[in-house]
């Protein structure tokens, strides 16, 4: 009969979506309650089966208890909210000052986001670190995208059985970086989604808008050259700065809102809205269909981590009650 209590506690845990160590402490407290309750009920003369049924009935539904526990713990502090907004605010500052193309600032920004994301990830993955992780993957993705021509030429040479065009180390390094970056991104998304896919969506939040912007920059201007083409890209900077502020606001809601529904809604609305808006701003010929495709792709990128969601149940269920 104790298996029923274990199963109940495992069900509560499967709906908690909290940090694993916190989940263990929360469930440990509930298990302690059941031990006391069952002991008292037995002392009152209840049989084992009756006692378990009575204890479970007086406790309430597993899902609703899990939802209330989530609400009690999911609301980040103002410090955590401040930290979560920073990468978006830094990106907004780079665009507002028209400095996103300054190599030294880009290197500094990339080093900061990667360093803070790695440090935060290693220290228990607090919710705020997911916004930094989202930006940390961006330099690798950009490098892979810009170097795809080199990779394609190398692949064609290998396919034709001829020597890879010099310098041969370039495609090798690019391939290693892309493969490593993709592996790390998928692993990070899986880990985040295993706890809560809303956190994985928070990690993906900058990708739709920055992806669309990068495509537009590449389409209309030649990167790295000064003069008129760069000026054309700079005209979108105020819009990008405002969209980064929108993403910062959505991140703040995702950290502070007590309800998972509000968190998910804020991330999806901001991500899909910003992804569509940047397409509208950078592409004059994008009609209603173009915007619809942009919205769908943005929603798909943000919701894709849900495929990784799903929590292991069972193996540790026997350990809740002693």
């Amino acid at each position: 009969m104790r298996a029923e209590v274990d199963s109940y506690l495992s069900e509560v845990r499967s709906h908690l979506h909290l940090d694993p160590s916190l989940e263990r402490r929360v469930i440990g407290e509930l298990a302690s309650h059941f031990e006391d309750k069952l002991s008292d009920l037995r002392a009152e003369g209840f049989g084992e089966g009756e006692a378990v049924r009575e204890a479970l009935a007086s406790f309430g539904g597993a899902r609703s208890i899990a939802r209330l526990l989530y609400q009690a713990h999911s609301r980040g502090t103002w410090v955590e909210t401040f930290l979560a907004c920073q990468p978006h605010l830094l990106a907004a500052a780079l665009f507002a000052a028209h400095r996103w193309h300054t190599p030294a600032l880009l290197v500094l920004f990339s080093a900061a986001v990667i360093g803070i994301a790695v440090a935060g990830w290693a220290r228990g993955r607090p919710a705020w670190v997911h916004t930094w992780a989202g930006f940390a993957f961006f330099p690798l993705l950009v490098l892979g995208w810009l170097g795809r021509g080199v990779l394609a030429r190398a692949a064609a040479a290998v396919g034709a059985g001829v020597a890879i065009p010099a310098p041969a180390w370039q495609p090798a390094v690019l391939l290693a970086l892309c493969a490593g970056g993709s592996f790390l991104l998928v692993r990070a998304l899986r880990l985040a989604a295993k706890r809560d896919w809303v956190l994985a969506a928070l990690l993906m939040l900058p990708q739709p808008v920055f992806g669309a912007w990068l495509l537009a920059v590449e389409r209309y201007v030649s990167l790295g050259r000064d003069g008129a083409p760069l000026a054309a890209a700079l005209q979108w900077d105020p819009a990008m700065a405002r969209l980064c502020l929108l993403l910062a606001a959505a991140s703040a809601v995702a950290i502070r809102a007590p309800s998972r529904l509000f968190k998910a809604a804020a991330i999806l609305a901001a991500g899909v809205g910003a992804g569509s808006l940047i397409v509208k701003i950078t592409s004059a010929e994008a009609g209603l269909w173009g915007l619809a495709v942009a919205a769908l792709v943005s929603a798909g990128l943000l919701a894709a981590p849900a495929l990784f969601a799903g929590r292991p149940r069972g193996p540790d269920a026997a350990s809740w009650l002693r």
Binding site: S32, H33, E35, D36, F59, Q71
Partner: protein, 118 residues
């Protein structure tokens, strides 16, 4: 006392924090099951919680810095999470109790039949 719940559940939900803070303060430290049992005993079975809802309420009080929780091992070897009051919690409890007493007195005054109408 009444055998079944004959009050609006929202009324109890709105005062759960006050009850928990008062009992934790009075006992010095206490754990979830003990608090639930104590509320049941003192109200002579009138207040009936869905017991599971007390734990989110305690966790919320802790997240708001009103109580502090820590694990202690009881004499029988069982580990329990005890909650103790913080200064912030004590201040809020005093405010809530004062507010409840004023509210309760005003309700009694209003509901008392006026002279000559009883």
């Amino acid at each position: 006392m009444a055998d079944r719940q004959d009050y609006d559940a929202d009324l109890l939900r709105g005062n759960t924090d006050s009850l928990l803070l008062f009992l934790i303060n009075e006992r010095g430290s206490s754990y979830g099951y003990e608090l639930i049992r104590e509320i049941g005993l003192r109200s002579r079975g009138y207040f009936r919680f869905r017991e599971g809802t007390v734990y989110p309420a305690l966790r919320k009080l802790e997240a708001d810095g009103l109580v502090r929780g820590d694990w202690r091992r009881a004499a029988g070897g069982q580990e329990r999470r005890y909650y103790v009051m913080t200064a912030k919690g004590r201040a809020l409890m005093r405010r809530k109790l004062a507010m409840w007493k004023s509210f309760s007195s005003a309700m009694t005054l209003v509901l008392k039949p006026a002279a000559g109408q009883g």
